[in-house]
Amino acid sequence: MRDFRTSTALARGLGAAGNGTRDFWHQRVTSVLGVLLIAGVLIVISTSVGADYDEVTNLLSNPLAVIVLLLALLNFCIHMRIGMQVVIEDYVHGPVTKALLLIANTGFSAVIGVAGAAAVLKIAFAG
């Protein structure tokens, strides 16, 4: 369907980066959900303290633990990326250094999320 909005209307409110308040809002969403998820993660970690290897793999094969851990990894991967981006933008002003750090930040957050998720899935499905 044809979009009848003018190019000005499409760009209005989106700012220089073209994302508008997206990061701000995503940070709020992931902080509300994060409070719930970190409670779940701390319960899983606390339960694992003092357990032997078989008990720990058994615990992490529990569907509820798998769901909490996967959601937490996704949630915090998004939250930590936006948070660190704010820190970088506050303190690093060289355009090249800033761009490289922002890329590294995205890469680190993605690696944490994907590596964690891969480990959780392997424990749950492959022992």
Partner: protein, 132 residues
Amino acid sequence: MAGTTSSSRPRPTAPHLQVYRPTLTMTMSIAHRLTGIAVYIGTIVFVWWLIAIAAGRDAYESFLDALGSIPGLIVLFGLTWAVLHHALGGIRHLIWDTGRAHTYPWREYLARANLIGSLALTAILWAVCYPR
């Protein structure tokens, strides 16, 4: 236009942290950012834990040995506090987002609750978990 002046005088800068008398709310604000950075780095420990379990018994034993050492325990204790402080600080920010508690005395109560709450929760969590 400001950008087109030929003056070589450095641009004026806003006063930064060092000119202000430290207050609790300011300290808690800085602590929120620092604990956020600490937890960012600390996710390595969390993912290391998951990968060690996924990798098998020996890797998990090595992980437990490393975290059970004195430096390991210090890092884990600090990380526990950082996570809890950042989580409670986040709740404080969410309360502010609704337009509440920006003024005296609530902002002070929230700052204190943030610090005392994070320390208390850390102590409780370690007291419950540590000596099995």
